[in-house]
Symmetry: none
Subunit: 214 residues, 4 copies
DNA sequence: CATGAATGAGCCTTCATTCAT
DNA sequence: AATGAATGAAGGCTCATTCAT
């Protein structure tokens, strides 16, 4: 794919090249999240990035490779966000769960285009990126499921709850609410969104762990 | 859109023609839900439907009109499902809500392709079908919000809950869980999916309304 | 390749379509024989044939398929020519050989573009058409080799002669002379070319079989 | 063409540079003979030569200039071969002709890629290298024609033979047989190829001059 | 002397659409 | 009511060439 990696595998990428790639990433996320992959042309992406069309091919090898690289770039950001969501001092899985959900909302607020793009492609099982996207999703939901399992072990959840499905449910809830927020009421403060989600999870957790309580 | 309706408005559609349209609908939902609108060609749709390409244009006028007709066809089905979800004898909004969520899961189980297609297009704000899709979504979420409002009025929800956001959350939860079920564990009985969702909503509703309880 | 063959395999090709294909063939042979495959664009071919570019793809599926079809179209013509070269009354293999060589010269005179095109591609072993071209060549040389074998059996050739190599030699001789004739002295009558070739073969055949002798 | 020769005409080419040029020549002949000029990219040539793409431009100025230089490099080798083919002591034109044909076969055996490349381009009259190639061909055939003229003057050929056409015929015969040998039976010793050609020419020369005879 | 990142013209190909039959 | 041959605009991709380093 990447020519440089073939001919001189271990040379670090030149800073000029790295800057070009970043500009292309930023142009691509926005356009694709708005219009979709198929409706976004390479011409458009290159123009918005301020480079020639050939540069896309020089740097990524093709449109679909750019898209794949984009998603990997995105997953790195998501992983970073989730990793830092739970304070290392936090030992209560309930509080940790609330912190993770909050981090999810904030991630979507900050990387809205990326989130839209991932969600839009999530349900097409026959796309070439299906595996990549499923991987990202699994990783994110996995963090939630682990916390649910910890809660279950602590006897704080109904013992017959399917934590896999529940994780998927919480994930869907957070993403949907967050994107609806960005779409319909982008001016509302993130606190209000987070408070609503916490309310809903509170009941489910059987006990009040809301960070809004004193 | 429909040429015949222009030239001979009151003649009923011939059964031959109606059969052709139905075959095209079925071919289109499947292909588009799998590959996306942009990646599905009129050629493909016509071939799968077993008709010539020109027939698509004769019957619908174009690719995007076929897609629009498809979504309208889908929304009719969704409306029917939701309308029939709550037994007319049911007066408790909690039980009604659970019934609606169950209907949602079952709808997705039965019209998986349609659901995928709608979800995939939901988050692209710059598409020409954005309005149509938003309308469908608003309608479906509206049913949920109404019940949440009824619950709030009955004092069964925290008074400060934003029922609009909560409706969106429940919608996202149901759709995500249901599609994950179809994607990853299609053989599980719908009962298990429904039970999990009910568990999660139970706590939120503050009282047990699960249909599984005696 | 051919869409029609997929959907309705046994329907005869429409005469309109057949006419279009023929025009494309004629445009393509000329242009490719002059400029080469790589230097001839589909645009050029379509324009010379007086059709739209898409028509090439509708009829052949692609540039390389057009080229392959072209060569098969050509080989049919060559086969016809060689089949009719030897009068059915002719029983002497020497006279038959001379008749075949003459037919070869005449074929090249009449289908010069096709001959150039085949010769130019003959020596590139890594092309996708290598097999097709080799097949054509083998077929043509095969006719010569059979006659040489008959002559050998009749004791009219040195017994240690490798008729395979000799066939290749005669083939190369005829093609080279004929194309040089078309290139450098196109106004010379075909008789003079044929006479020269016959002179050269006469000696080799060990006996005079020239058709110019009484 | 050569930048250095413009700026510092009399400085000998550095050995580093000369080595680079040679590697590029060798990469180019092979690739172009296999795939053709149009299907061989500068990238490919540079990669096979183990240099960066820019180096091709630094050394030759462009792709077509590299190709031209390649052919000139080839013609030098062919000229050398033919010049040395006839022992200076040889005065019999028949024996000299056989020696020249043998030299041709050996040249092709040793410079197969170059020979393929020249042959493939020989018949496209509209290429920019047409003149260069015709020149090489004329030079090679000229050697043969001169010997044929000598034989004719000595009364050893039919007086009405067109030695120009006959030279072309012998040239085509040798090249075709030699390349078929390399393509289909590369393991056969060159002697067998040469013997067959000599047999064929013997009859034509009217007298036995085969080098295999004692 | 050599490099490799960037360029953009030109190409092959796809595909929604038209229309004569 | 349906067909399929033809179209041409649009898009992805290749590649010879340039140039700053």
């Amino acid at each position: 794919m990447d020519r440089m990696s073939v001919s001189t595998p271990n040379r670090p990428m030149s800073s000029r090249r790295e800057a070009t790639r970043k500009r292309l990433f930023e142009a691509a996320v926005t356009l694709i999240s708005e219009q979709g992959y198929g409706a976004t042309s390479v011409d458009e992406i290159a123009e918005r990035a301020g480079v020639a069309k050939g540069t896309v091919y020089y740097n990524f090898g093709g449109k679909s490779e750019l898209y794949t690289a984009l998603m990997e770039w995105g997953v790195t950001r998501l992983a970073d966000t989730l990793r830092d969501a739970v304070p290392s001092a936090e030992t209560d899985p309930g509080r940790a769960l609330v912190a993770v959900l909050r981090a999810g909302v904030e991630f979507i607020g900050e990387h809205e285009a990326l989130a839209r793009l991932l969600m839009a492609e999530t349900w097409r099982t026959h796309q070439v990126w299906y595996t990549t996207i499923r991987h990202i999703r699994t990783k994110a939901i996995g963090v939630v499921i682990e916390l649910l399992d910890a809660l279950a072990e602590a006897g704080r959840l109904r013992p017959d709850l399917d934590t896999g499905l529940a994780g998927s449910a919480l994930f869907g809830m957070v993403v949907t609410v967050a994107l609806d927020w960005r779409t319909l009421q982008p001016d509302r403060p993130v606190e209000e969104i987070h408070a609503t989600l916490t309310h809903m999870v509170d009941g489910f957790l059987g006990t009040t762990v809301s960070p809004m309580d004193p």
